[in-house]
């Protein structure tokens, strides 16, 4: 075969605030549900923001039958295990002794690995008055922490669980570029398959920051919506009255596979992961500039990497966080790259229904692009009722739209300025090219 190896998406799995698997999430998207509620996981009544999009009713023991692994799983590792399991089952292939070294794992994970309960116990034990008693910590610290707690606090805790559970022995990467993590992980995973470093990669993202410390951090910044009395419409990307994002949580994983091998084994192929654009805004920690500089390079890079023209894009799953600056900057970036075509394609933000899954967002939204292609449906932007004259694209605000989608794009832009743009194509286009 000439040229780089094409990369097939052959399995998908997700845990989101809208549902604990792919079908329930997709059905909730179609029916216009919101995953945002008053926070149920802890008493958030002292915070200015008391709403979030939490995962609902995921039972640990249904995800991992093996009790020993459970000791090592924080809530977001559990999301990862559940989504990965769905993806691997869906793909109908898993590592064997013969293939384990040809399997890779590339994931984007969250920044909060220390549990709030642990911090509370630490405070009672070593900082009764708020100041750390150093002599006591030196003398007792070793006995205070358990080995499973130590393991859970590592940034590679989820990575270790996934490697062990599936026996994946090849390439491995764990990334964190805030809200771009999941998108960048899928992009890197695509390159790992393309280069021949692996034939299969389990790729995705997982996160939660819905805990007292994470919520405090975002509230202190003033980045999250305080529409506590109307949670369902708090996330309203591209709406003129948007006032911040809504925290979500969850995980999305895909099985990526070398195209011909996937075809040869008769795998179901949702879509091709065809290109990655990856850029840095180098502007401010929390924003891209209004001009869209930074995201523009990522979108152009994605198109170029996929050898695709701007006119070919039918659907864009926008980063669309519902913050005043992101949605303006992203709209301007799309206009700059696509010109007149910007008004001819569908652009929507699924964060309007499921909130912002932070490090998992890019992975879940990438899967939604694959589904949009497979099911010929563009998800909607919910809650867009008051048009913003500066955000004037076709945001699919009147419900999910049936339409043929051959090429879809997913944007993810992170705190810190990292940007990811992924390009997805319908399988038929690859098969006709490969023939």
């Amino acid at each position: 075969m000439s040229g780089p190896r094409a990369v097939a998406i052959t399995g998908i799995g997700m845990v989101t605030p809208l549902g604990n698997d792919v079908e329930s999430t997709w059905n909730a998207i179609l029916s216009g549900e919101s995953g945002v509620r008053e926070i149920a996981g802890f008493d958030a009544s002292g915070f200015p923001t008391r709403i979030a999009a939490e995962v609902k009713g995921l039972r640990a023991e249904e995800v991992i039958e093996d009790r020993k692994s459970l000791k090592y799983a924080t809530p977001f590792s559990l999301f990862a295990l559940a989504a990965a399991e769905e993806a691997v089952r869906d793909a109908g292939v898993r590592p064997t002794a013969a293939t384990a070294e040809r399997w890779g794992l590339v994931s984007g994970s969250g920044m909060m690995t220390m549990e709030f309960d642990f911090l509370q116990r630490f405070q009672r034990e070593f900082a009764a008055d708020g100041e750390i008693d150093l002599a006591r910590l030196g003398a007792e610290g070793e006995r205070f922490i358990s080995s499973s707690e130590f393991a859970r606090h590592r940034a590679v805790a989820g990575q270790a669980l996934l490697h062990q559970r599936y026996g994946i022995r090849g390439y491995s990467a764990n990334l964190h570029t805030a809200c771009a993590s999941g998108g960048q992980a899928l992009g890197m995973a695509m390159r790992v398959v393309r280069s021949g470093q692996a034939d299969y990669v389990l790729a995705g993202g997982y996160d939660t920051m819905i805990n007292p410390i994470g919520l405090a951090g975002f509230c202190l910044l003033g980045a999250v919506s305080t529409d506590n009395d109307r949670p369902n419409s708090a996330s309203r990307p591209f709406d003129r009255t948007r006032n911040g994002f809504v925290l979500g949580e969850g995980a999305g994983f895909m099985v990526l596979e070398e195209w011909r091998q996937a075809r040869d084994r008769g795998a179901k192929i949702y879509a091709e992961l065809a290109g990655e654009g990856n850029s840095l805004s180098s502007y401010r920690i929390t924003d891209s500039p209004p001009s869209g500089d930074g995201p523009i390079q990522a979108i152009r890079g994605g198109l170029e990497d996929a050898s695709e023209t701007a006119d070919a894009v039918d659907y864009v799953n926008a980063h669309g966080t519902s913050t005043p600056m992101n949605d303006l900057s992203e709209t301007n970036a799309i206009k700059e790259v696509f010109g007149d075509h910007a008004y001819e394609m569908a652009v929507s933000s699924t964060k309007s229904q499921m909130g912002h899954l932070i490090a998992a967002a890019g992975a879940v939204e990438g899967i939604l692009c694959a589904l949009a292609i497979e099911r010929s449906t563009a998800p909607m932007t919910a809650n867009l009722r008051t048009p913003d004259p500066e955000c004037d694209l076709d945001y699919v605000s009147d419900g999910c739209r049936s339409m043929q989608i051959d090429t879809a794009m997913s944007n993810s832009f992170g705190f810190g300025g990292s940007n990811s743009c992924l390009v997805f194509r319908s399988p038929g286009r690859v098969d006709s090219r490969e023939r």
């Binding site: 002292g46 200015p48 910590l137 570029t177 405090a216 202190l220 180098s282």
Partner: protein, 422 residues
Amino acid sequence: MRDGVVITGYGCLTASGADVSSTWEAVLAGESGIREASTWDSSGWPYRLAGEIKDYKPRELVADRKLLKFITRQDVIGLNAMTQAVDHSGIIEHRDGLADPTAFNDRTGVFVGSPATKYRYQHDYLGPLAVAAGDLREFGVRAMDDVHPMWLLRTLPNNVLAYVGIRYGFKGANANITAHGISGSQAVAEACRYLRDGAIDWAIVVGYDSASELEALPYYASVGLLSSRGLRPFDRSRDGTVLAEGAGALVLEKREAAELRDAKIYGEVLGSSVVAEAGGILSVREDGDGVARAVRLALADSGLRPDQIGMISAHANGGRDSDAAEARAFSETFGASAIPVTAFKWSLGHTIAASGAIESILTLLCLANRRVPGVPTLEELAPECGGAMVSASEQAPRSPVGIVVSRAFAGLNSCIVLSSNA
């Protein structure tokens, strides 16, 4: 043959030295930067050894004083090493001579090995927790009043990546790797991937960490990983590692780009690998499977045979299991053609996410100077480590090509293959 990736600049800040040459001189002289931890009062602590940065003065380490309000100690260390490397490479002078720097900025990427989060970040919430005494509503109210509004931004695991970009205006491909002890090496490897893929022409690579933070010492000790006596790799009496602060940074370029700007080329990254042992978070396979496979894959990626390797920079963290497994992997891979092995953590301590970047730079210096420093802590080579041709006295590399081995929690192993231009 694909386009080569060359090294045109480097910088570091370690417990043993404030830059590359002082760190290198300390290693050659057999000096260690490991001391009793002194950034807090560690008197009476059973495990108190640490490789801390000496004379840490943030205002001297980072030029932009306003920035210090928005970053933490480990970010300062990372940005200092980064600035040294960028200055060393001369790429900013090159860019500033261009009529239009847009393409240069868009095609310069940033790849970082990051320690991710730290226990110490959460200490800002201890006051509100103490006042709230278990009442979460009260905690929320107090946290809003008492904690700095920029708390979340100060603690971002990708701060160094973000501020490298903001400082210089680089806008190319980027990654922030949070993979414990292989993060620094993997940042090198991923930079090479995006350079080879043609997504960028230049890359800044940084690995940084402040692994020896307050809570880390008792917690690492609790799982049996720390030494209270000193880091003695491959020695019969080795009993654990010593955590440390530090950062290393490299400027990588496509050979064509470097030659076009007449850059001084110090060396080349020939290949890399990452593999997982898949045995769990703290498990280390006795047979050295991960190291052996990482070395074989990196050699294959470089198109080299084992007998073409001139020296090995071992991970050598002083752990009983890890060092023995690593030595086994070396004898399995290189057989009778024993390759000189050295290590650096006995001097610098274990800088975790920074170690692969720092050790890549020091390996380049070994090759350039044709000196493989001795490991002076070695008194008696452990029988189970016999596969590592390590010595208390200096050796000579057998060729201008070296490998750098790094290992991490989650059973991760990586190998970088480098050559010197000298």
